[in-house]
Assembly symmetry: C2
Homo-oligomer: 150 residues x 2
């Protein structure tokens, strides 16, 4: 998998927050229920995003979390780096410790091109774009839809 589960949870929560435009704090409880993610686990994930100043949090009644910046100013990549670190997609596809233009692994050229595309996408796509995309509702209700089908 390209991104860790933890990271995916963070992304889904961030996009959901972006789709709830308005400057109010949203409780993690509410997010966890809409996203069908364990409340405690999501809490941890969002704490990390708060530390990275992607989210802002507030304790106590009427507290919760919200985006720390405008959704248009937060990229997919910001969230990924905060949670999965900035080595994402930097490694060689064959896991070689030394793989560069000078000393490329056999897959170097193909992989470099693809990495470029993915990184470019991550750097370019912002949370508001994701939130605006058709079927943002998939973010939170698909688990329910899925459950119903079984």
């Amino acid at each position: 998998m390209l991104l860790s589960n933890t990271c995916i949870y963070g992304l889904r929560a961030s996009v959901l927050l972006a789709s709830k435009h308005g400057d109010k704090f949203v409780t993690i409880r509410e997010l966890s229920e809409e996203l069908n993610i364990s409340f405690h686990f999501l809490t941890k994930v969002l704490q990390q995003l708060t530390k990275s100043e992607i989210l802002q949090s507030y304790k106590g009644p009427n507290g919760g979390v919200k985006l720390a910046k405008k959704a248009s100013e937060i990229t997919f990549m910001d969230v990924v780096i905060s949670i999965d670190g900035n080595n994402i997609m930097k490694e060689c596809a064959l896991g070689m410790p030394v793989c560069s233009e000078l000393k490329p692994c056999p897959l170097h050229d193909q992989w470099t091109a693809m990495k470029g595309n993915i990184l470019n996408m991550m750097n370019t796509v912002s949370l508001d774009q994701l939130a605006a995309n058709r079927h943002t509702d998939t973010l939170y209700n698909s688990y329910i839809a899925h459950a119903r089908k079984e």
Copy 2:
């Protein structure tokens, strides 16, 4: 990471085998030393490739493993599927259980395009092409080079 470590070991060993053209069996011990991978672990990985009939193995003196087909007839994808299974790159980038054209997640379009490229590459590139690529030696000696540098 896109591919598991186990899978990467399998790929490196397969490419190395492909570069040792000739129909002789090569011992896993020799492969493990050239690749700097634990002998026992590599043994397990290659057992899986043998089960999938990508490799052929032979016990006893002069035994070892070799490619079961011509290197030009084994794709990168063959090895990946054997080890990481065929769900590789099938999941939604945001981990949604339902994400399709009808009900796409916010990242669906971008991700579908990139997945297509990667899958296409994996399906297209064969072991002989990888073995023929410049610096196949990176496959096995870069660990040593790396160690020297430190």
